[in-house]
């Protein structure tokens, strides 16, 4: 089997200025003061790995270690400063649930809007509409504006839309922590279904138990660099040890 994701030598640089220069006046002042050259900050540095098709890959690391940045470069949201990312197939990125929602619109309208944000067609959304609503358990709320939803309901709807059409690559960034326990279980089940259907999954989670339960291989990021890459048991064991001691 080939690789679904190949990350080779990816580095991501951000300009760390205290505040962004976005007006001409500020630009001029800084130009005169020669402060335009910000402090450079590498959120990712020389990260390389690949994920086989159908594999479930976990990424662990402390806050600010670059996990979200890495997922964003893989989804194509961020373009890496150096290096290359290669992906094959349709990606469904769940960086933040409900990012494409317009809260003034109803759930029904948002299903179509969000579906199109993810690049699905009208026919696909029509066909899957009932399934989406049913999985999200929002049958009675389809014509209610999303701004009246609880955050759990929003998350359910968004997760349901993002996973109803089997993506080739599913990217999950710390979103399984929302919603109640029952829904979390349902989500995990859905992810496992997708996995057995051949979808490649990349997961970032606060819950190391979840990573251990779902993933085959794990990458440990530290300050944007690869600390370790390997079997779940091995990496998670050392990671737990390190975070307990630290």
């Amino acid at each position: 089997m080939g690789n679904a994701v190949e990350v080779s030598n990816v580095s991501m640089r951000f300009n760390m200025s205290k505040d962004k220069v976005d007006s001409i006046k500020e630009y001029m002042i800084r130009l005169v003061k020669r402060q335009l050259f910000f402090e450079e900050f590498w959120a990712l540095k020389e990260v390389s790995f690949s994920v086989e098709k159908g594999d479930v890959f976990g990424i662990v690391g402390l806050n600010g270690s670059g996990k979200s940045t890495l997922l964003k470069t893989i989804s194509g949201i961020l373009k890496p400063t150096e290096g290359r990312v290669y992906t094959e197939g349709v990606i469904s990125p769940m960086i933040e649930l409900g990012a494409g929602f317009d809260t003034d619109l109803t759930a029904r309208e948002n299903v179509f809007l969000n579906g199109s944000v993810l690049g699905f067609s009208r026919a696909q959304m029509k066909e899957k509409f009932d399934e989406i609503v049913e999985f999200a358990e929002l049958q009675e709320f389809v014509d209610v504006a999303v701004k009246n939803f609880s955050s759990g309901m929003v998350a359910r709807l968004a997760f349901s839309i993002a996973t109803v059409i089997k993506p080739d690559i599913l990217i999950v960034d710390e979103i399984l922590a929302v919603g109640d326990f029952l829904f979390q279980q349902k989500c995990e089940q859905r992810i496992q279904e997708l996995m057995s259907g051949g979808t490649t999954v990349l997961i970032v989670s606060h819950s190391i138990e979840q990573i251990e339960r779902l993933c085959h291989r794990v990458l440990w990021l530290e300050h944007g660099r690869m600390r370790m890459l390997g079997d779940t048991q091995e990496v998670c064991g050392l990671y737990k040890q390190a975070t307990r001691d630290g």
Partner: protein, 264 residues
Amino acid sequence: MKKQLQTFLKYRFLLENLISRDLKVKYRRSVLGLCWSILNPLLMMLIITAVFSTIFRFEVENFSIYYLTGWLIFNFVSESTTAALQSIVNSATLIKKVYIPKYIFPLEKILFSFVNMFFSMIAVAIMIAVACLMGNMQLSWTMLLFPVPMLYALVFCIGFGMLIAAINVFFRDMGHLYSVCVTAWMYLTPIIYPMEALDRAQWVLPIIKCNPLYYYVTYFRDVVMYNTVPGPADNLICIGFSLAFLLLGGWVFKRTQDRFILHI
């Protein structure tokens, strides 16, 4: 090229959805809804006609239609580009969370205004019908050419909208500056005044001749009001402006789009 076309087709449904979302938001909770796109210009026309045909006394045949036609094109350009200007910055949450071809955002705003212009075109049609009934104007087949100048203006707006949307990401001053520019632009377009009114101010003419809107508005009036078909030269000027801005805007946008996310 082929790949870009495929991506565009893939996101066509998104474009439709965003446009219909904007329509819903614009007309929600208004009783007359879309009718406002027709009523609004008519009411404006009444005021302008009252003011300018009594106080300033421009000698223009069918002044209300003269105004309305100029207003239609100008309003499309100013409304669409003003919305496009903010489109990238306003879509920050989406751009940071999902991959979407970024030109979708300015393009959507331009197309949304374009749809609105077609609704407002009904107001022009009504006034022309009235003028024909009263014998002030004559129906002509050239009127059917009205979409041509609109399409020229559309292409211009897409390019210009992408250009200023990209600039606005890096310099937010653009937003403040632009509303002033639009006012100046309005006075440099013959919407209310006839070109003859400029006889006393010859120095403005070269400036107006650099204004693409002058050509689009003139073209529009030629086919809708004066039953004439602009010749190849006029068409070439219009196409030239439109394509030049499309290429410039597209080029600047493409060059800068990967850095948008770092500034929004």
